[in-house]
Amino acid sequence: MAEALLKVDNISKRFGGLLAVNGASFSVAVGCISALIGPNGAGKTTLFSIIAGFLSPDNGRVFYNGADITGEPPHRLARRGIARTFQIVQPFAGLTVRENIAIGAHLSRRGRGEALGAAGEVARSVGLGAQLEAPAATLTVAGRKRLELARALAIMPRLLLLDEVLAGLNPSEIRDMIPVIRGIADNGMTVLMTEHVMQAVMSLAKQVFVLAEGRVIAQGTPQQVAADQRVIEAYLGHGAARRMAVGAGHG
Protein backbone atom coordinates (compact mmCIF):
# COMPACT_ATOMS: atom_id res chain seq x y z
CA MET A 1 0.00 0.00 0.00
CA ALA A 2 1.06 3.56 -0.63
CA GLU A 3 2.36 5.59 2.29
CA ALA A 4 -0.24 6.78 4.81
CA LEU A 5 -1.14 10.47 4.85
CA LEU A 6 -3.44 10.14 7.83
CA LYS A 7 -3.03 7.61 10.60
CA VAL A 8 -5.62 7.17 13.35
CA ASP A 9 -4.17 5.21 16.22
CA ASN A 10 -6.32 3.60 18.89
CA ILE A 11 -8.71 6.54 19.33
CA SER A 12 -11.30 6.44 22.10
CA LYS A 13 -13.90 9.01 23.09
CA ARG A 14 -16.45 8.77 25.84
CA PHE A 15 -19.50 10.97 26.38
CA GLY A 16 -20.64 10.27 29.92
CA GLY A 17 -21.84 6.66 29.90
CA LEU A 18 -21.54 6.29 26.14
CA LEU A 19 -18.32 5.02 24.65
CA ALA A 20 -18.74 6.59 21.20
CA VAL A 21 -15.38 5.56 19.78
CA ASN A 22 -13.61 2.57 21.24
CA GLY A 23 -10.02 2.11 20.16
CA ALA A 24 -10.45 2.84 16.46
CA SER A 25 -7.36 2.61 14.25
CA PHE A 26 -6.84 2.94 10.51
CA SER A 27 -4.57 4.54 7.93
CA VAL A 28 -5.57 6.54 4.90
CA ALA A 29 -3.34 6.02 1.88
CA VAL A 30 -2.14 9.08 0.03
CA GLY A 31 -3.75 10.06 -3.27
CA CYS A 32 -6.97 8.06 -3.24
CA ILE A 33 -10.50 8.09 -1.87
CA SER A 34 -11.12 6.24 1.36
CA ALA A 35 -14.50 5.85 2.98
CA LEU A 36 -15.48 5.48 6.60
CA ILE A 37 -18.84 3.73 6.79
CA GLY A 38 -20.93 2.15 9.46
CA PRO A 39 -24.48 1.94 10.76
CA ASN A 40 -26.10 4.88 12.56
CA GLY A 41 -24.52 5.53 15.91
CA ALA A 42 -21.31 3.71 15.04
CA GLY A 43 -19.23 6.74 15.99
CA LYS A 44 -18.36 8.00 12.49
CA THR A 45 -19.19 11.62 13.15
CA THR A 46 -17.39 11.59 16.50
CA LEU A 47 -14.29 10.06 14.96
CA PHE A 48 -14.51 12.55 12.12
CA SER A 49 -14.75 15.48 14.51
CA ILE A 50 -11.69 14.20 16.36
CA ILE A 51 -9.66 13.96 13.16
CA ALA A 52 -10.79 17.46 12.14
CA GLY A 53 -9.84 18.94 15.51
CA PHE A 54 -13.34 19.80 16.71
CA LEU A 55 -13.17 17.25 19.55
CA SER A 56 -10.26 15.93 21.59
CA PRO A 57 -10.00 12.18 22.05
CA ASP A 58 -9.79 10.67 25.55
CA ASN A 59 -7.19 8.24 24.25
CA GLY A 60 -5.11 7.61 21.18
CA ARG A 61 -3.36 9.77 18.61
CA VAL A 62 -3.91 11.16 15.16
CA PHE A 63 -0.95 11.52 12.80
CA TYR A 64 -0.92 13.56 9.63
CA ASN A 65 2.01 13.30 7.30
CA GLY A 66 4.04 11.81 10.14
CA ALA A 67 3.29 14.62 12.63
CA ASP A 68 1.17 14.16 15.74
CA ILE A 69 -1.84 16.46 15.31
CA THR A 70 -3.96 15.15 18.17
CA GLY A 71 -6.01 17.95 19.70
CA GLU A 72 -4.76 20.68 17.38
CA PRO A 73 -7.46 23.28 16.77
CA PRO A 74 -9.23 23.25 13.38
CA HIS A 75 -7.66 26.47 12.07
CA ARG A 76 -4.14 25.03 12.54
CA LEU A 77 -5.14 21.82 10.81
CA ALA A 78 -6.48 23.88 7.92
CA ARG A 79 -3.12 25.59 7.65
CA ARG A 80 -1.45 22.16 7.56
CA GLY A 81 -3.62 21.29 4.58
CA ILE A 82 -6.57 19.47 6.09
CA ALA A 83 -10.00 20.66 4.96
CA ARG A 84 -13.39 19.40 6.06
CA THR A 85 -17.00 19.80 5.09
CA PHE A 86 -19.88 19.66 7.53
CA GLN A 87 -22.65 17.07 7.39
CA ILE A 88 -25.12 19.78 8.40
CA VAL A 89 -24.09 22.49 5.95
CA GLN A 90 -22.70 25.64 7.55
CA PRO A 91 -22.77 28.36 4.90
CA PHE A 92 -21.95 31.96 5.77
CA ALA A 93 -25.57 32.76 5.03
CA GLY A 94 -25.19 36.51 4.80
CA LEU A 95 -22.37 36.37 2.26
CA THR A 96 -22.53 35.59 -1.44
CA VAL A 97 -21.30 32.31 -2.87
CA ARG A 98 -18.15 34.03 -4.08
CA GLU A 99 -17.47 35.62 -0.70
CA ASN A 100 -18.06 32.29 1.04
CA ILE A 101 -15.46 30.54 -1.07
CA ALA A 102 -13.06 33.49 -0.80
CA ILE A 103 -12.79 32.89 2.97
CA GLY A 104 -11.13 29.59 2.15
CA ALA A 105 -9.07 31.10 -0.65
CA HIS A 106 -7.72 33.76 1.72
CA LEU A 107 -5.71 31.11 3.55
CA SER A 108 -3.01 31.31 0.92
CA ARG A 109 -3.92 34.68 -0.62
CA ARG A 110 -3.82 37.92 1.31
CA GLY A 111 -5.31 40.20 -1.34
CA ARG A 112 -9.08 40.53 -1.48
CA GLY A 113 -9.24 40.67 -5.26
CA GLU A 114 -6.97 37.67 -5.63
CA ALA A 115 -9.06 35.60 -3.21
CA LEU A 116 -12.32 36.59 -4.90
CA GLY A 117 -10.83 35.66 -8.26
CA ALA A 118 -9.65 32.28 -7.02
CA ALA A 119 -13.10 31.72 -5.50
CA GLY A 120 -14.64 32.07 -8.95
CA GLU A 121 -12.40 29.36 -10.37
CA VAL A 122 -13.13 26.95 -7.54
CA ALA A 123 -16.88 27.62 -7.87
CA ARG A 124 -16.79 26.73 -11.56
CA SER A 125 -14.91 23.49 -10.80
CA VAL A 126 -17.80 22.28 -8.61
CA GLY A 127 -20.54 23.63 -10.87
CA LEU A 128 -21.46 26.77 -8.93
CA GLY A 129 -20.22 29.18 -11.58
CA ALA A 130 -23.70 30.49 -12.37
CA GLN A 131 -24.57 31.34 -8.76
CA LEU A 132 -21.38 33.19 -7.84
CA GLU A 133 -23.05 36.44 -6.84
CA ALA A 134 -26.13 34.88 -5.20
CA PRO A 135 -26.43 35.05 -1.42
CA ALA A 136 -25.54 31.67 0.06
CA ALA A 137 -28.88 31.65 1.90
CA THR A 138 -30.74 31.33 -1.43
CA LEU A 139 -29.00 28.10 -2.51
CA THR A 140 -30.81 24.77 -2.59
CA VAL A 141 -29.59 21.89 -0.43
CA ALA A 142 -27.60 20.52 -3.36
CA GLY A 143 -26.14 23.97 -3.96
CA ARG A 144 -25.15 24.30 -0.31
CA LYS A 145 -23.43 20.91 -0.40
CA ARG A 146 -21.46 22.09 -3.42
CA LEU A 147 -20.63 25.29 -1.57
CA GLU A 148 -19.31 23.29 1.39
CA LEU A 149 -17.11 21.40 -1.02
CA ALA A 150 -15.97 24.53 -2.85
CA ARG A 151 -15.01 26.34 0.36
CA ALA A 152 -12.98 23.35 1.54
CA LEU A 153 -11.27 23.05 -1.85
CA ALA A 154 -10.41 26.75 -1.81
CA ILE A 155 -7.88 26.25 0.96
CA MET A 156 -6.07 23.92 -1.48
CA PRO A 157 -5.84 21.03 0.97
CA ARG A 158 -3.81 17.85 0.70
CA LEU A 159 -6.37 15.93 2.72
CA LEU A 160 -10.08 16.52 2.25
CA LEU A 161 -12.51 15.22 4.85
CA LEU A 162 -16.05 14.91 3.48
CA ASP A 163 -18.72 14.36 6.13
CA GLU A 164 -21.75 12.86 4.37
CA VAL A 165 -21.53 15.25 1.51
CA LEU A 166 -24.26 13.32 -0.35
CA ALA A 167 -26.73 13.08 2.53
CA GLY A 168 -30.03 14.77 1.77
CA LEU A 169 -29.53 14.80 -1.99
CA ASN A 170 -31.91 13.10 -4.40
CA PRO A 171 -30.65 10.35 -6.74
CA SER A 172 -30.10 12.66 -9.69
CA GLU A 173 -28.23 15.18 -7.55
CA ILE A 174 -26.06 12.33 -6.24
CA ARG A 175 -25.36 11.27 -9.82
CA ASP A 176 -24.22 14.82 -10.58
CA MET A 177 -22.06 15.05 -7.49
CA ILE A 178 -20.13 11.78 -7.83
CA PRO A 179 -18.06 12.93 -10.84
CA VAL A 180 -17.18 16.13 -8.97
CA ILE A 181 -15.73 14.12 -6.09
CA ARG A 182 -13.96 11.75 -8.46
CA GLY A 183 -12.47 14.73 -10.26
CA ILE A 184 -11.03 16.02 -6.99
CA ALA A 185 -9.29 12.72 -6.30
CA ASP A 186 -8.04 12.51 -9.88
CA ASN A 187 -6.20 15.78 -9.25
CA GLY A 188 -4.15 13.99 -6.63
CA MET A 189 -5.99 15.00 -3.48
CA THR A 190 -6.42 12.48 -0.70
CA VAL A 191 -10.07 12.15 0.34
CA LEU A 192 -11.59 10.56 3.41
CA MET A 193 -15.38 10.47 3.28
CA THR A 194 -18.06 9.24 5.63
CA GLU A 195 -21.07 8.22 3.66
CA HIS A 196 -24.40 6.46 3.94
CA VAL A 197 -24.99 6.33 0.21
CA MET A 198 -23.45 2.92 -0.56
CA GLN A 199 -23.78 3.33 -4.31
CA ALA A 200 -21.37 6.27 -4.03
CA VAL A 201 -18.96 4.45 -1.72
CA MET A 202 -18.87 1.47 -4.04
CA SER A 203 -18.14 3.53 -7.11
CA LEU A 204 -15.72 6.03 -5.54
CA ALA A 205 -13.70 4.49 -2.73
CA LYS A 206 -10.55 2.45 -3.15
CA GLN A 207 -10.43 1.62 0.50
CA VAL A 208 -13.28 1.24 3.01
CA PHE A 209 -13.20 1.18 6.81
CA VAL A 210 -16.28 -0.14 8.57
CA LEU A 211 -16.98 1.28 11.99
CA ALA A 212 -19.43 -0.43 14.36
CA GLU A 213 -19.89 0.29 18.04
CA GLY A 214 -16.86 2.54 17.96
CA ARG A 215 -14.43 0.00 16.50
CA VAL A 216 -13.10 -0.65 13.04
CA ILE A 217 -14.51 -4.12 12.38
CA ALA A 218 -13.43 -4.52 8.77
CA GLN A 219 -11.41 -2.84 6.08
CA GLY A 220 -10.48 -3.48 2.48
CA THR A 221 -11.84 -2.75 -0.98
CA PRO A 222 -15.59 -2.03 -1.24
CA GLN A 223 -16.16 -5.54 -2.63
CA GLN A 224 -14.26 -7.15 0.23
CA VAL A 225 -16.13 -5.36 2.98
CA ALA A 226 -19.49 -5.88 1.30
CA ALA A 227 -18.92 -9.59 1.48
CA ASP A 228 -17.60 -9.53 5.03
CA GLN A 229 -19.87 -11.36 7.46
CA ARG A 230 -19.09 -9.00 10.35
CA VAL A 231 -20.14 -6.05 8.23
CA ILE A 232 -23.43 -7.65 7.22
CA GLU A 233 -24.15 -8.45 10.86
CA ALA A 234 -23.30 -4.93 11.97
CA TYR A 235 -25.84 -3.54 9.53
CA LEU A 236 -28.56 -6.18 9.62
CA GLY A 237 -28.26 -7.62 13.10
CA HIS A 238 -26.71 -10.66 14.75
CA GLY A 239 -27.04 -13.85 12.74
CA ALA A 240 -28.09 -12.05 9.58
CA ALA A 241 -25.13 -13.30 7.56
CA ARG A 242 -25.93 -16.90 8.38
CA ARG A 243 -29.63 -16.51 7.66
CA MET A 244 -28.84 -14.89 4.34
CA ALA A 245 -26.48 -17.72 3.42
CA VAL A 246 -29.14 -20.26 4.35
CA GLY A 247 -31.79 -18.31 2.46
CA ALA A 248 -29.58 -18.19 -0.61
CA GLY A 249 -28.99 -21.94 -0.35
CA HIS A 250 -32.72 -22.67 -0.32
CA GLY A 251 -33.55 -20.26 -3.10
Binding site: A78, F92, G94, L95, I103, H106, P135, T138, A152
Partner: protein, 326 residues
Protein backbone atom coordinates in the same frame (compact mmCIF):
# COMPACT_ATOMS: atom_id res chain seq x y z
CA UNK B 1 -10.15 54.33 -4.87
CA UNK B 2 -13.74 54.08 -6.04
CA UNK B 3 -14.79 52.53 -2.74
CA UNK B 4 -13.50 55.56 -0.84
CA UNK B 5 -15.28 58.11 -3.01
CA UNK B 6 -18.57 58.14 -1.04
CA UNK B 7 -16.61 58.80 2.16
CA UNK B 8 -14.77 61.73 0.59
CA UNK B 9 -18.04 63.20 -0.72
CA UNK B 10 -19.89 62.87 2.61
CA UNK B 11 -17.01 64.30 4.61
CA UNK B 12 -16.64 67.19 2.15
CA UNK B 13 -20.35 67.99 2.45
CA UNK B 14 -20.18 67.97 6.24
CA UNK B 15 -17.02 70.08 6.15
CA UNK B 16 -18.95 72.74 4.22
CA UNK B 17 -21.54 73.20 6.99
CA UNK B 18 -19.61 75.93 8.88
CA UNK B 19 -19.59 77.97 5.66
CA UNK B 20 -23.36 78.34 5.99
CA UNK B 21 -23.84 78.54 9.71
CA UNK B 22 -21.71 79.09 12.76
CA UNK B 23 -24.69 78.91 15.07
CA UNK B 24 -23.65 77.31 18.33
CA UNK B 25 -26.89 75.36 18.49
CA UNK B 26 -26.36 73.75 15.08
CA UNK B 27 -22.67 73.08 15.64
CA UNK B 28 -23.25 71.72 19.11
CA UNK B 29 -25.88 69.39 17.72
CA UNK B 30 -23.53 68.21 14.96
CA UNK B 31 -20.55 67.80 17.28
CA UNK B 32 -22.52 65.56 19.65
CA UNK B 33 -23.88 63.61 16.67
CA UNK B 34 -20.34 63.13 15.33
CA UNK B 35 -19.21 62.07 18.79
CA UNK B 36 -21.91 59.39 18.88
CA UNK B 37 -21.06 58.42 15.28
CA UNK B 38 -17.44 57.94 16.31
CA UNK B 39 -18.27 55.89 19.39
CA UNK B 40 -20.81 53.97 17.28
CA UNK B 41 -18.27 53.26 14.55
CA UNK B 42 -16.17 51.48 17.15
CA UNK B 43 -19.16 49.38 18.17
CA UNK B 44 -20.01 48.79 14.51
CA UNK B 45 -16.68 47.16 13.76
CA UNK B 46 -17.06 44.61 16.53
CA UNK B 47 -20.85 44.28 16.56
CA UNK B 48 -21.91 45.05 13.00
CA UNK B 49 -19.06 43.39 11.15
CA UNK B 50 -17.98 40.86 13.76
CA UNK B 51 -21.35 39.94 15.26
CA UNK B 52 -20.09 40.39 18.84
CA UNK B 53 -22.71 42.57 20.50
CA UNK B 54 -21.07 44.57 23.24
CA UNK B 55 -23.24 46.32 25.82
CA UNK B 56 -20.20 47.83 27.46
CA UNK B 57 -18.42 50.17 25.08
CA UNK B 58 -18.54 52.69 27.91
CA UNK B 59 -15.54 50.80 29.31
CA UNK B 60 -13.40 52.07 26.39
CA UNK B 61 -15.01 55.50 26.15
CA UNK B 62 -14.66 56.12 29.88
CA UNK B 63 -11.12 54.83 30.19
CA UNK B 64 -10.01 57.15 27.41
CA UNK B 65 -11.90 60.11 28.87
CA UNK B 66 -10.41 59.55 32.31
CA UNK B 67 -6.93 58.94 30.89
CA UNK B 68 -7.06 62.27 29.05
CA UNK B 69 -8.38 64.13 32.09
CA UNK B 70 -6.13 62.52 34.69
CA UNK B 71 -2.98 62.96 32.60
CA UNK B 72 -3.70 66.68 32.22
CA UNK B 73 -4.96 67.46 35.70
CA UNK B 74 -2.66 65.31 37.76
CA UNK B 75 0.45 64.96 35.59
CA UNK B 76 0.38 68.04 33.41
CA UNK B 77 0.54 66.05 30.19
CA UNK B 78 -0.41 67.92 27.03
CA UNK B 79 -3.99 67.26 25.93
CA UNK B 80 -3.04 66.29 22.38
CA UNK B 81 -0.65 63.71 23.74
CA UNK B 82 -3.50 62.71 26.06
CA UNK B 83 -5.62 62.00 23.00
CA UNK B 84 -3.13 59.38 21.82
CA UNK B 85 -2.48 57.91 25.26
CA UNK B 86 -6.21 57.84 26.00
CA UNK B 87 -6.87 56.03 22.74
CA UNK B 88 -4.12 53.53 23.53
CA UNK B 89 -5.50 53.04 27.05
CA UNK B 90 -8.98 52.35 25.64
CA UNK B 91 -7.54 49.89 23.15
CA UNK B 92 -5.64 48.16 25.95
CA UNK B 93 -8.83 47.76 28.00
CA UNK B 94 -10.49 46.39 24.86
CA UNK B 95 -7.70 43.86 24.35
CA UNK B 96 -7.86 42.80 28.01
CA UNK B 97 -11.65 42.36 28.04
CA UNK B 98 -11.46 40.60 24.67
CA UNK B 99 -8.73 38.23 25.81
CA UNK B 100 -10.69 37.27 28.92
CA UNK B 101 -14.11 36.88 27.33
CA UNK B 102 -13.11 35.31 24.01
CA UNK B 103 -10.54 32.99 25.60
CA UNK B 104 -13.26 31.61 27.83
CA UNK B 105 -15.46 31.10 24.78
CA UNK B 106 -18.22 33.56 25.64
CA UNK B 107 -20.54 34.10 22.69
CA UNK B 108 -23.81 35.85 21.97
CA UNK B 109 -25.73 37.23 24.91
CA UNK B 110 -23.14 35.95 27.38
CA UNK B 111 -20.54 38.15 25.76
CA UNK B 112 -22.96 41.11 25.85
CA UNK B 113 -23.70 40.65 29.54
CA UNK B 114 -20.05 40.31 30.51
CA UNK B 115 -19.09 43.49 28.65
CA UNK B 116 -21.93 45.28 30.43
CA UNK B 117 -20.57 43.98 33.73
CA UNK B 118 -17.05 45.20 32.95
CA UNK B 119 -18.33 48.70 32.20
CA UNK B 120 -20.43 48.74 35.37
CA UNK B 121 -17.51 47.57 37.51
CA UNK B 122 -15.34 50.32 36.05
CA UNK B 123 -18.10 52.87 36.72
CA UNK B 124 -18.33 51.83 40.36
CA UNK B 125 -14.56 51.83 40.79
CA UNK B 126 -14.32 55.28 39.18
CA UNK B 127 -17.02 56.61 41.48
CA UNK B 128 -14.96 55.79 44.60
CA UNK B 129 -11.30 55.83 43.52
CA UNK B 130 -9.45 59.01 44.58
CA UNK B 131 -7.48 59.29 41.32
CA UNK B 132 -10.68 59.77 39.28
CA UNK B 133 -12.00 62.41 41.68
CA UNK B 134 -14.47 59.82 42.97
CA UNK B 135 -18.01 61.13 43.22
CA UNK B 136 -17.03 64.73 42.55
CA UNK B 137 -15.76 64.03 39.07
CA UNK B 138 -12.96 65.78 37.23
CA UNK B 139 -12.87 69.29 35.92
CA UNK B 140 -10.26 70.03 33.27
CA UNK B 141 -9.05 73.58 33.92
CA UNK B 142 -10.04 76.09 31.28
CA UNK B 143 -7.12 76.97 29.01
CA UNK B 144 -8.47 78.21 25.70
CA UNK B 145 -5.47 77.53 23.50
CA UNK B 146 -5.13 75.29 20.48
CA UNK B 147 -2.04 73.71 22.09
CA UNK B 148 -4.24 72.64 25.00
CA UNK B 149 -6.89 71.15 22.68
CA UNK B 150 -9.40 73.80 23.81
CA UNK B 151 -11.07 76.39 21.64
CA UNK B 152 -13.21 79.45 22.14
CA UNK B 153 -15.34 78.63 19.12
CA UNK B 154 -17.20 75.43 18.30
CA UNK B 155 -15.90 75.44 14.73
CA UNK B 156 -12.45 73.92 15.41
CA UNK B 157 -14.07 71.27 17.59
CA UNK B 158 -16.44 70.52 14.77
CA UNK B 159 -13.59 70.04 12.31
CA UNK B 160 -11.64 67.86 14.72
CA UNK B 161 -14.68 65.67 15.38
CA UNK B 162 -15.29 65.46 11.65
CA UNK B 163 -11.65 64.53 11.02
CA UNK B 164 -11.85 61.75 13.59
CA UNK B 165 -15.09 60.46 12.07
CA UNK B 166 -13.54 60.62 8.59
CA UNK B 167 -10.56 58.65 9.81
CA UNK B 168 -12.84 56.03 11.37
CA UNK B 169 -14.82 55.76 8.13
CA UNK B 170 -11.61 55.20 6.16
CA UNK B 171 -10.29 52.63 8.64
CA UNK B 172 -13.54 50.66 8.61
CA UNK B 173 -13.77 50.84 4.80
CA UNK B 174 -10.19 49.57 4.51
CA UNK B 175 -10.97 46.71 6.89
CA UNK B 176 -14.11 45.89 4.89
CA UNK B 177 -11.96 45.36 1.79
CA UNK B 178 -9.28 43.30 3.49
CA UNK B 179 -8.71 39.71 4.44
CA UNK B 180 -9.23 40.64 8.08
CA UNK B 181 -12.64 42.07 7.19
CA UNK B 182 -13.61 38.92 5.32
CA UNK B 183 -12.52 36.78 8.26
CA UNK B 184 -14.49 39.00 10.63
CA UNK B 185 -17.65 38.50 8.56
CA UNK B 186 -16.98 34.76 8.46
CA UNK B 187 -16.68 34.65 12.25
CA UNK B 188 -19.95 36.60 12.54
CA UNK B 189 -21.77 34.23 10.20
CA UNK B 190 -20.42 30.93 11.51
CA UNK B 191 -17.46 30.51 13.78
CA UNK B 192 -17.07 26.75 13.35
CA UNK B 193 -17.15 26.92 9.58
CA UNK B 194 -14.65 29.78 9.67
CA UNK B 195 -12.20 27.86 11.84
CA UNK B 196 -12.42 24.86 9.51
CA UNK B 197 -11.18 27.17 6.76
CA UNK B 198 -8.13 28.24 8.70
CA UNK B 199 -9.57 31.31 10.42
CA UNK B 200 -8.23 31.75 13.95
CA UNK B 201 -11.48 33.06 15.38
CA UNK B 202 -9.92 34.07 18.69
CA UNK B 203 -7.25 36.27 17.12
CA UNK B 204 -9.73 37.80 14.69
CA UNK B 205 -12.12 38.74 17.50
CA UNK B 206 -9.32 39.97 19.73
CA UNK B 207 -8.00 42.18 16.96
CA UNK B 208 -11.51 43.46 16.24
CA UNK B 209 -12.30 44.39 19.83
CA UNK B 210 -8.95 46.18 20.15
CA UNK B 211 -9.51 48.35 17.07
CA UNK B 212 -13.15 48.79 18.04
CA UNK B 213 -12.16 49.96 21.52
CA UNK B 214 -9.56 52.34 20.08
CA UNK B 215 -12.15 54.03 17.84
CA UNK B 216 -14.66 54.42 20.67
CA UNK B 217 -11.83 55.61 22.92
CA UNK B 218 -11.06 58.56 20.64
CA UNK B 219 -14.66 59.65 21.21
CA UNK B 220 -14.00 59.52 24.95
CA UNK B 221 -10.90 61.72 24.66
CA UNK B 222 -12.80 64.17 22.53
CA UNK B 223 -15.68 64.26 24.99
CA UNK B 224 -13.37 65.17 27.86
CA UNK B 225 -11.87 68.08 25.89
CA UNK B 226 -15.20 69.30 24.58
CA UNK B 227 -17.13 69.39 27.85
CA UNK B 228 -14.10 69.70 30.18
CA UNK B 229 -15.92 67.73 32.82
CA UNK B 230 -16.40 64.01 33.43
CA UNK B 231 -17.58 61.88 36.29
CA UNK B 232 -18.18 58.15 36.66
CA UNK B 233 -21.75 58.36 35.38
CA UNK B 234 -20.73 60.22 32.24
CA UNK B 235 -17.55 58.33 31.43
CA UNK B 236 -18.64 54.79 32.23
CA UNK B 237 -22.40 55.26 32.28
CA UNK B 238 -24.76 53.07 30.27
CA UNK B 239 -25.81 56.07 28.13
CA UNK B 240 -22.71 55.88 25.96
CA UNK B 241 -22.85 52.07 25.68
CA UNK B 242 -26.43 52.44 24.48
CA UNK B 243 -25.82 55.33 22.09
CA UNK B 244 -22.78 53.52 20.70
CA UNK B 245 -24.87 50.52 19.75
CA UNK B 246 -28.09 52.35 18.92
CA UNK B 247 -26.49 54.56 16.29
CA UNK B 248 -25.12 51.73 14.13
CA UNK B 249 -28.22 49.58 14.61
CA UNK B 250 -30.56 52.40 13.62
CA UNK B 251 -28.25 53.45 10.78
CA UNK B 252 -27.41 49.97 9.56
CA UNK B 253 -25.04 47.68 11.44
CA UNK B 254 -22.21 46.29 9.36
CA UNK B 255 -22.23 49.20 6.92
CA UNK B 256 -19.61 51.94 6.83
CA UNK B 257 -22.09 54.83 7.01
CA UNK B 258 -24.49 53.14 9.45
CA UNK B 259 -23.15 54.79 12.62
CA UNK B 260 -23.06 58.27 11.07
CA UNK B 261 -26.57 57.99 9.62
CA UNK B 262 -27.87 56.50 12.85
CA UNK B 263 -26.21 59.11 15.06
CA UNK B 264 -27.72 61.93 13.02
CA UNK B 265 -31.12 60.20 13.08
CA UNK B 266 -31.27 59.48 16.79
CA UNK B 267 -29.93 62.91 17.71
CA UNK B 268 -32.54 64.54 15.47
CA UNK B 269 -35.24 62.36 17.00
CA UNK B 270 -34.05 63.16 20.50
CA UNK B 271 -33.94 66.92 19.94
CA UNK B 272 -37.30 66.99 18.14
CA UNK B 273 -39.09 65.10 20.86
CA UNK B 274 -37.55 67.43 23.43
CA UNK B 275 -38.99 70.41 21.55
CA UNK B 276 -42.39 68.80 21.09
CA UNK B 277 -42.76 67.65 24.69
CA UNK B 278 -40.98 70.51 26.43
CA UNK B 279 -43.69 70.96 29.07
CA UNK B 280 -44.17 67.38 30.21
CA UNK B 281 -40.98 66.03 31.76
CA UNK B 282 -40.24 62.48 30.65
CA UNK B 283 -42.71 62.57 27.77
CA UNK B 284 -39.90 63.22 25.30
CA UNK B 285 -38.25 59.96 26.35
CA UNK B 286 -41.53 58.08 25.88
CA UNK B 287 -41.93 59.47 22.36
CA UNK B 288 -38.26 58.85 21.64
CA UNK B 289 -38.63 55.23 22.73
CA UNK B 290 -41.75 54.71 20.64
CA UNK B 291 -40.11 56.22 17.58
CA UNK B 292 -37.08 53.96 18.02
CA UNK B 293 -39.31 50.90 18.26
CA UNK B 294 -41.03 52.07 15.08
CA UNK B 295 -37.77 52.67 13.22
CA UNK B 296 -36.35 49.30 14.13
CA UNK B 297 -39.64 47.56 13.41
CA UNK B 298 -39.92 49.14 9.97
CA UNK B 299 -36.26 48.95 9.05
CA UNK B 300 -34.64 46.03 10.85
CA UNK B 301 -31.46 46.52 8.83
CA UNK B 302 -31.29 50.18 9.65
CA UNK B 303 -31.48 53.20 7.43
CA UNK B 304 -28.74 51.86 5.16
CA UNK B 305 -30.70 48.65 4.68
CA UNK B 306 -33.87 50.60 3.97
CA UNK B 307 -32.12 52.74 1.36
CA UNK B 308 -30.72 49.63 -0.29
CA UNK B 309 -34.17 48.02 -0.42
CA UNK B 310 -35.70 51.15 -1.94
CA UNK B 311 -32.97 51.50 -4.56
CA UNK B 312 -33.47 47.86 -5.44
CA UNK B 313 -37.24 48.14 -5.73
CA UNK B 314 -37.15 51.06 -8.13
CA UNK B 315 -35.82 49.27 -11.22
CA UNK B 316 -38.57 46.65 -11.34
CA UNK B 317 -36.45 44.34 -13.49
CA UNK B 318 -33.83 44.13 -10.75
CA UNK B 319 -33.24 40.95 -8.85
CA UNK B 320 -35.57 40.37 -5.94
CA UNK B 321 -33.05 38.24 -4.11
CA UNK B 322 -33.25 38.99 -0.43
CA UNK B 323 -30.08 40.47 0.90
CA UNK B 324 -29.83 38.69 4.21
CA UNK B 325 -27.02 40.68 5.65
CA UNK B 326 -26.28 40.13 9.34
Amino acid sequence: MKTYLPIIVVVALLAAVPLFTTSNVVLNFLVTALLIALAGQGWNLLGGYGGQYSFGHAAFFGTAAYATAILQVRYGVNAWLGLFIGTAAGALVGAAIGALTFRSGLRGSYFSLVTLAFAEVLRIVASVAPITGAGVGMLIPLDLHAQAFQFQSRVPFYFIALALVALSLLVVRAIENSRFGAYLAAVRENEDAASALGVDAFSVKLCAITISAAITATAGCFYAQYFLFIDAGIAYGPWISIDALLAPIVGGAGTVFGPLLGALAIKTLGETTKLVAADAPGLDLVIYGLLLVGVIGLAPRGIAGLLRTISRLRPSSGTTLEDSHG
